[in-house]
Every structure is written in structure tokens, then in C-alpha cells.
Assembly symmetry: C2
Homo-oligomer: 422 residues x 2
């Protein structure tokens, strides 16, 4: 199917370069981008019969990528954020995740969760489910139905957790294998991912089995790393022989180019070297890291090092799915890092945040996040005309910045892999 | 006029105490609160003929107080926040404020500004205008018409500013006197306030004249204090004999119980002692202070010291008028202060932020910010029923917290001094 979107197109090509095309033509074929043409006469003639969607003067940007969030925490979004990570999990999160052993609770809750993802600005997600395989599969059915693209993990936990969320080690592994088998060939846009919660809640034996299973089958993996100082100390106690938290994941075959590690606030330089060497992805979650008083990830340093970094909402430690708000928060936190932690690392720019939220996380999904030929046709159209009437801005990136901070805009259209879902 | 609002009422009585009344009756006479009654039969019989507004299950809270913002910066809200204070003023703000020498620009811009204030959650404002008296008066006309309550200042600047924003010292003083005279008897809810921009842009002679004029006439004063380290150093150079920035304001008779000082991020303990002694008000502006990389005001310390503190949006260094978002930001920043600056000062709670945004700033306006007998009847009704259907919360303060973070609510009603403006 051929489609042409007409409007003011922008995307972040690199952290330092934004591409802007005022009132131009974005040409799509099926689920891919063909190209951007400034004049109608430049469009190849084979697209003469394409559907033209006229969004003159509106902003056309890549759909965002949310690299880290927890589906079974969705209902407790936006309150109870007065504790640090480990207490917060015990007091608020685990009792809520327990409820997903009940399929009818999961059914109702995941309906509203998926509806919220659908209405959000993000097109791609990497999601933690709960330990409950059937609820996780139900979530995947709903996600597939939505048209969104996602990885979903059945969470593994076999130690240091409440009884009601502690699996037997072998059962945890077998349920994971069964989870992957049930997904095989079932979905087009929804993929299973190996998901040990984090080292404190997974025994060495379980970590080893999961890592080997993932390696043997070239499976994606997601987990948490170096989020909170108390968690980091705990991991040191749990694994006294490991040189570091990151090294431990590596030793369990859980650190490679198919890995997403959420947070990475407290990694030391040697750990960053391991992450870079592994080409693993970092999900930077600034809203979460401030809400749980975890700290500030040195995002400028990560960009300087050329690490793979994207942004994550981390629902429900993060309070919002709104990727524009998360981008703004990543900038604000980088300013505080510069001010209070290390003034060698200057704050990130709005375009750098835009890069993280599109290309940065998008690379995990393949050719995602740029509006260039061969990239996936996942696209948002945003209407800021009321703001433009009040105070006209010439550059498209400033218009995007303004709507991100003021939230005065309408989402007119959301395409995911070429399919219109809003 | 007698009115009764029925619904779930809450307000912050002290930083440590929130008062909650599920589905109760808030009784108003004219512009004041009579009381809260849990049962209809407890309401005094003289209110039998009162208008009853039924907001069953909805949240009824005090209207918010925005203690610091700049009207002539409204059009540049939400972008160009990549510089620190002094450069930001020179590159972005002053060229915009210059435009307010043109009354027709001011007319159009202030229409949208006042409309945004009206639609916001705040009922009380303390506003910087520009140096242009006629534009400031035009703004006051529009504010009075809106039904909102506000202080508005004609800004004074006679040094270290671009030519186009530098007044002659005597002219600046005379225009201020004329501004106050033109306001006399003209408005019911709109008050003039003495507004030296800050010490760097006001000569000693001007500061002295303004301070003496304010003191002689018992006028309110607003200015900026200790926002950014470069600004603080500059003030030290400009006033080498002053012990501190705060001491300098005091020496100019500009520090008393009628004073609002915006920011106060970098004050030392002796300065805080002076502020406490003077009973001056601090406008804490966390969104602004992160956007301009200024730093984090030690808000826990200010609460511990018993200082008068409210919250300010500081448009346009702050990017939003949304006081719920500013409350959340004050909490997030207090968490980062605890983590990185001084772990003696624990993060503030949601109720403490609620206190700051209501009673904290409200005290500057008199009996404002609590829903207690004799307090002004400035009230919001918020609808969070969609969230309650999804995941029921029992405590009213958690419901308020949830809508503040998720922004999933509707503003159903806004009363200011008893008058319904939404």
C-alpha cells in the first residue's frame, strides 16, 4: 500500500543533527519509508496513485520508543513514590504484581494498559510482565491486536521475594521455555524476551539457565542494572566473587547486543566498558530515577562513549508514558548532573533527547527511529497550530521542544509499521 | 450569596497534616468559607436556601497560588532553555520583553496570557510585568476582568541591561509612582507591587528610592534572590561592601513581611536568618531552577526553619503554569537534593508540596489556602472518576497525588473569592 504524508517533517539523524523538511512529502510503501521529497514533482511516478494525507504545517516525526516499562504496575502509576527501590518493591509493587495470578484481573487491567499505550506517543515498547505466564500471554494477545510493536517478558524470580512471588527454580525455567514455545509463530509485532527481574531476585542457577537458553537460541534479554545504591551493595553481598554487577550479568551470558539493561545510574567505568564491548542497550529512565530517589544516570557520558542508549518510561516507578515529558525530564536531570555531580558532563540538548527517544531506543528494534529510506514507517503527526498562531516559530525542532514542554498540541495521526492506529 | 459544594474535600492544614472529608458539604457565604459539614443535617438552617452544587465523589481542594511569574515572557514558554540565567536573559528574554513597548503586541499577548491563567489551577498570582507601565496597566485591566486575584509589578531596570530596556533612574522611579497612582481605587482583585528586577539591573540609587517608597507606603515588593551562582558572584562584585545579596536587599529596605523573593537557591545560613527575621516570602520555582541549570533550593531546610515559602511557575524559565506539575517537580528536586547535596534533608512529601502550593503561598494573600471558616472561597473541583473506576483509592490525598502525576482528570469548577470563573 502506498501512502504520502504531506507536512513539516523532522527527525534526529544523529545526536548532533536534526533533519527538517518544511511542508514536504514523506512517501511510504507498506510498512517502510521510501523517502522525503520537497516538491511533488520529485516523487517517483509509481506513487501517482498513492493515498495523500494532507497535514500541511503540522509536525511529522518518528514514533517514539519506550525501552522499559512494567505492565503489571500500570494500575499503581502516579502515587506511592515515597520510598527507595527495594522498599518500594516490597511495600507497593509486589502486592500489586501478585494480583496477576488472577487472569480476570489481568484481563481488565491489561485492557486499560494497552489502550493507554495505543493512545501514547510511543510505537515500540519493551515490557516486563509478571511471573504469571498466562497473564503475560494475554497481554501479548492484546498488544498484537493493538498494532503496536513490543517485546514482552515473563518475569523470573526465585529468591529474596515474597512467597507469593517466588518461583521454584526449575519451574521458573520451564515456564519460560513454555512461554517462548507458546509465542512461536503466533504474533507478527509481539515478541517474547527473556526477563530475569534482577540479580537479587534470581539465583545463580536460574540466571545461568536463562542466560544459556537465551544464548543458545539467540534470544533478546532485559533486566535491571545499577539502579539504586542499596541494590548495588546488595548485589555485591550476594555475589562477593563478581567484580561488579555488570560483570555478573556477563558471567551469566546475559550481556550482549540483544540485551536491554534498565537504569545504569551507578555503573563504574569498568562496567561501562563491558556494556560498550557487549553492545548492550541501556534504557535510561529519568522520571523513575528521580521518583525513587535513585540518582541521575550520566547520560552525556553515555553519549560521549557511544553506548547504545534509549529512554524508558519505567511505569510505575516512572509516572508517565508521555515520551515528550520523559525527554524533558532527561534534559532537566542532565542539568542537575552537570550542576551537582560533575561539570565535565554538560547538559544534553533537546535534539539529543529526541535522538534517544527515537533512534537511540529504535536501534534495538532494527531500522527504527529515522525517517530515512528503508526505515520502518512508524510516524506521528502533531498539531501545534494554536501555538503557532500565538507566537510563530520557524525551526521545527523548536516547535517540537515547545509542545514537549507546554503539552499544548493534538496527536492527529499515529502510524505503526505503516498501519494507522490513531 | 450562599453556596454549598458537595463532594470529597481535602486541604493541607499544616505541612504534616492533611484534612480529608469524604462526600461532605463545604458551605460558602459570598467570598468566604463558612465551614465543612459531614452531614446535611449539621448545616446551619440559614443555608437552607443556598445553591447546592453536587460534585459527589469528586475532589474539592483549595485553588493554588502562583507566587512568581513573568507575564511578558509568556510567549516564549517551553523552548530556548539551553543557557544559564544571565545569558538566557540577554539572548532570549530581553528581546522579547522589549516588544511590550508596543501596546498592540501587549494587548494580543496578554489576552492569551490571562486566558491561560484563567484556565489554570491557580487562583492567586504575583506577576512581573515589563518596564512598560502602559502595558502593565493593560495587563491589570485584563486580570481584573478575569476574576483572578493578582499582584502585578511594573519592572524597574536602570543598569546592566540592553539600551532598549534601560530606564533613566528618575524616570524609572517616577513611572513607578505614576503606576501606583493609576491603580489607586481602580481594581478589586488586582494590586500593584514594587518590582525591582534584581540588584544587577537596578542601581543603588534606584533600589534605595524604591525601598523607601515601599516602606513609606507599606507597599508589597517582589524581586529575585540567589538564583544562580554567576548572578550571586556578580552581585558580590557590584556591592563589595554588602555582607550578602540578602543583606543588600535589606539595606535597601526591600526585605520585610510584604516581600516575595523568587528562587533563594544559593542563600547561606546568615541570609536565611535575615529572611526569617524579616518574615519575607520565598517563591520556590523548581521547574525554572532545573530548566536554567540554576540548582535546587533546599526546600526541606526552609520548611524546618519555618520560613514563609510558596511555589512559583516562573514562566518562562519555568515551562508550565500547572501547579500540580510544579508540586511534583518540587518533590523530585528535593529527592535529588537529598541524594546529591545533603542527605540531612529528606525529600518532601506530596502533602508538603500541596501545603506549599496552597497555604505556603496563600499566606501572602491573607487567609488563603485552607478550607477553614473565614478563609477565602477559592476552590477547585477535580474529576478523577475514570482513574477511580480503574483502580479505586481510598485516601483523598493519594487521589490528588495520582492526578498530579498522571494528569488524567478534568477541572470541573474553579471558584475565585466565591465567584465561579470556570
Amino acid at each position: 500500500m502506498k501512502k504520502i504524508l504531506y507536512g513539516s517533517i523532522l527527525y534526529s539523524a544523529t545526536p548532533n543533527e536534526v533533519k527538517e523538511f518544511k511542508n514536504s512529502y514523506l512517501v511510504l510503501r507498506d510498512d517502510l519509508i521510501v523517502g522525503i521529497y520537497e516538491r511533488a514533482s520529485d516523487i517517483p511516478s509509481e506513487f501517482n496513485d498513492a493515498i495523500l494525507l494532507d497535514y500541511r504545517d503540522k509536525l511529522i516525526i518518528p514514533g517514539f520508543v519506550d525501552l522499559h516499562l512494567h505492565a503489571p504496575q500500570f494500575q499503581i502509576t502516579g502515587f506511592q513514590m515515597d520510598l527507595e527501590l527495594l522498599d518500594w518493591l516490597n511495600y507497593y509493587v509486589f502486592p500489586e504484581e501478585r494480583k496477576y495470578s488472577n487472569l480476570s484481573y489481568a484481563d481488565k487491567s491489561y485492557d486499560s494498559f494497552v489502550a493507554s499505550l495505543k493512545n501514547s506517543l510511543s510505537c515500540y515498547f519493551s515490557i516486563f510482565g509478571s511471573i504469571h505466564k498466562d497473564s503475560d500471554l494475554l497481554l501479548m494477545d492484546k498488544l498484537e491486536e493493538s498494532g503496536l510493536v513490543s517485546f514482552v517478558g515473563k518475569v523470573n524470580m526465585d529468591r529474596n521475594s515474597p512467597d507469593y512471588l517466588t518461583e521454584n527454580t526449575n519451574t521458573s525455567m520451564n515456564e519460560t521455555i513454555s512461554f517462548f514455545e507458546k509465542c512461536r509463530g503466533k504474533y507478527k509485532n509481539t515478541y517474547p524476551i527473556v526477563t530475569p527481574r534482577f540479580i537479587p531476585s534470581c539465583s545463580d542457577a536460574l540466571m545461568k539457565m536463562l542466560g544459556e537458553y537465551a544464548m543458545a537460541n539467540e534470544l533478546p534479554i532485559q533486566s535491571h542494572l545499577d539502579e539504586n545504591p542499596n541494590e548495588v551493595s546488595w548485589v555485591k553481598e550476594l555475589l562477593p566473587k563478581s567484580k561488579s554487577y555488570t560483570e555478573a550479568y556477563k558471567s551469566f551470558s546475559c550481556l550482549n547486543e540483544r540485551t536491554i539493561m534498565a537504569h545504569c545510574v551507578w555503573n563504574n567505568d569498568e562496567e561501562l566498558r563491558l556494556i560498550k564491548e557487549a553492545k548492550a542497550f541501556i534504557a535510561h529512565c529519568p522520571t523513575s530515577n528521580s521518583n525513587l530517589s535513585s540518582g541521575i544516570a550520566p547520560i552525556r557520558k553515555y553519549l560521549d562513549l557511544g553506548l547504545n542508549v534509549g529512554l524508558g518510561s519505567d511505569i510505575a516507578a516512572g509516572h508517565t508514558l508521555d515520551m515528550l515529558e520523559i525527554m524533558d525530564n532527561s534534559i532537566e536531570m542532565s542539568k542537575m548532573y552537570w550542576r551537582y555531580v560533575d561539570n565535565k558532563y554538560k547538559p544534553i540538548s533537546f535534539n539529543e533527547a529526541f535522538y534517544l527517544a527515537t533512534v537511540g531506543g529504535g536501534s534495538y528494534f532494527g531500522s527504527v527511529g529515522r525517517l530515512e529510506p528503508g526505515y520502518e514507517a512508524s510516524i506521528l503527526v502533531l498539531d501545534d497550530s494554536l501555538l503557532q498562531e500565538g507566537y510563530y516559530l520557524d525551526t521545527l525542532i523548536e516547535r517540537l521542544e515547545r509542545i514537549s514542554y507546554t503539552k499544548k498540541y493534538k496527536l492527529l495521526c499515529k502510524l505503526v509499521r505503516g498501519k494507522k492506529i490513531i
